[in-house]
Amino acid sequence: MKKYFAGLILLFCSSVVCAGLGVDPSKFEIVMPAGEVYEASIDVKSTYDTVVPANISTKEWKNYGGNNGITVKDWLTVDIDKVDLFPDKPARVSFKVSPKEGMTGSLSGMLSFSVQKEGEVLNVVISVPVYLVIKGTEKPEIKLDHLIVSQSSVTAPSFEINLENSGNVHVRPQGMRISILGKKKDVLQTVVLGDTVPVYTGAKRSYRTQFSNVLPKGKYYAEIKLNVFGKEFVFVKKFKVLKNGSIKV
């Protein structure tokens, strides 16, 4: 016998047809010692044409493993868990960052604002990351996991740089200087990496960069320089450009 069931799969229903949320600023990077308190605020805006309550919550993001057992609630607090959002008038939500003794390296959490009216289909969430580094405990350690150099006879070289973070702080490799050196280690081309995503502790991440000029046949060095919390990391790899313009690392 054939089984039937109601075809109307009702997730939720609602009188609200769409909801937009906005925040400013978009992220926080905080370096401070344990035992102190940092206070800041975020503006939250909605596109509803009526007043809507937004739920405020904190979520775990990426912590250094040495902070085992520590949750985001131990250092990131918001005094309220709801805020009314008025049409076209951002609400200011204050929060506190208060790292405790014993915390070390990097911690991070998300401050999330969500709107889901009763019976609404979609839960609309906008989240702002808060990155915290405990001043005085930083032990940056970065390795070059692998480097892929690409070039064709008509396309200038590009590097895919895979970094492994074995330290205790997240590393946003903004400002990383990536150079191509000649046989005598003279700098031929340099690119500086702009604002980008972090490589988290205990993780690897790839970053791509593009150079401007095609390299002729010959021997070269790839040099990658990165300064993290005052510690400089330099990686050098040899590579060859073959007659057909391709690369051998």
């Binding site: 075809g7 769409c18 939250v44 839960n123 969430v125 590009s158 690119v191």
Partner: protein, 413 residues
């Protein structure tokens, strides 16, 4: 009576003209107005002059050659423009993104006190003296790249100028109400040299306010806003109907400028357990669901790009079943493009490096498939409103009421 009706019509028409000047459009006035962007709606290319967003790129003297390139990194979407000096005969050269709508200008006064922003990259120091600007009915304003944060180091730099009199006395609200060229570029005091090049991307006008991210639920058949998801238009269906797409989709709209380009939009259920990643009945039964992102309405078939809402599944290993478009690939064994993603729950933990299982959209574009690198930029003229389609797997379903909390989250990193 007849006279009164006519009069009434005339009054309404008159009010309409006064309140909504012809230079306004639905895109002008958004928090972010894209001139060259794959993330923000704004100007439109190759459209009729009756469209208030109509724009064209003009290169003067044939001095510059513009080419679209896709090699990463790309600040916004999947392509950027490389401007190369192709002819030095005239001694000077330039280009402009011109308003070609009927009035010949655009009313950009709502961006007064906001910003003109773009990304530029070159390793050629001659580019430091190149200039960018805006043309208004009141005249042109030219600004030199080196004075606004540009460094010729081969890296992308965000250039941002306040659109008010602190930048230039001509940047008044009244003058910005008649903008003839939304972005200008010329060699300035630099000598034109063949082959010199600069890359440009993400040219936008941004208001000085907090923007927003808006997901909305719409019916597939007519794009009308609705409040519920249904399958089979609410009619009874078989407990073994197989995979079916829902009758609705989620439309996304980003109208919030993201400076650092490290943003993404995720979709997931919030049902509280990893195995509740679907529609769940009160008796704890599950209907698995999947999602697919697209820049165009599906079904879609243009120039060999065919997308349907038919979903197929095939086991690719003893532990993994992947999802594909069975309206495009008839034989499951031939499927290699995994354009449907299994829905995951918020509680699911993935490896640090595996971040693509629930990302629908980011600065590279919409997530076309779980295949590596399958993010695609979105065409500004046809509208930057990526859509999320849902599918559900009706196999051996036990009757009941099935629900889920589906979260669409915008976040930075």
């Amino acid at each position: 009576m007849k006279i009164q009706k006519t009069l009434s019509t005339m009054i309404i028409f008159f009010i309409g003209v006064v309140v909504v000047p012809s230079a306004f459009s639905s895109n002008i006035g958004r928090n972010v107005y894209g001139v060259f962007s794959e993330t923000y709606n704004g100007a439109k290319y190759n459209v009729a002059a009756t469209d208030d967003d109509a724009i064209a790129l003009y290169i003067w003297n044939g001095t510059f050659a513009g080419s679209e390139r896709t090699d990463s990194p790309v600040p916004d979407g999947s392509k950027y423009t490389r401007i190369t000096v192709a002819d030095t005969g005239a001694g000077w050269g330039g280009m402009g993104y011109s308003a070609i709508n009927t009035s010949g200008y655009k009313n950009m006064s709502s961006y007064y006190n906001g910003y003109l922003k773009f990304y530029a990259r070159s390793s050629n120091s001659a580019m430091l003296n190149y200039q960018f600007g805006i043309e208004m009915t009141a005249g042109q304003v030219w600004l030199t790249l080196s004075s606004y944060g540009f460094v010729a180091d081969g890296n992308w730099h965000e250039i941002s100028i306040p659109l008010n009199t602190s930048t230039n006395a001509s940047f008044t609200s009244a003058n910005l109400a008649q903008v003839k060229q939304l972005f200008l570029f010329r060699n300035g005091s630099a000598t034109l040299t063949l082959g010199h090049a600069i890359d440009i991307d993400s040219i936008v006008w941004v208001k000085n306010s907090v923007g927003t991210f808006t997901p909305s639920l719409k019916r597939r058949s007519d794009n009308v806003f609705v409040t519920t998801f249904t399958w089979n238009n609410g009619s009874t269906l078989s407990a073994n109907a197989g995979w079916l797409a829902s009758d609705q989709y989620i439309g996304l709209d980003l109208d919030m400028y993201v400076t650092n380009k490290t943003w993404n939009v995720k979709i997931y259920t919030e049902n509280g357990a990893t195995d509740k990643n679907g529609l769940i009945s009160s008796a704890g039964k599950k209907i698995p669901i999947a999602w697919r992102a697209s820049d165009y309405d599906i079904p879609y078939a243009v120039s060999g790009d065919t997308r349907t809402l038919s979903i197929g599944e095939v086991a690719v290993s003893t532990s993994e079943v992947k999802l594909y478009d069975s309206g495009v690939v008839a034989n499951p064994q031939d499927a290699t493009y995994w354009c449907w993603f299994w829905m995951t729950d918020a509680t699911e933990v993935h490896a640090e490096t595996d971040y693509n299982y629930n990302i629908v959209w980011n600065n590279s574009g919409f997530h076309g498939a779980s295949n590596s690198g399958a993010f695609y930029g979105i065409n500004q003229t046809t509208g930057i409103n990526p859509k999320i389609y849902l599918g559900a797997r009706f196999i051996d379903i036990v009757g009941g009421n099935y629900t889920a909390v589906i979260t669409v989250e915008f976040t930075y990193e």
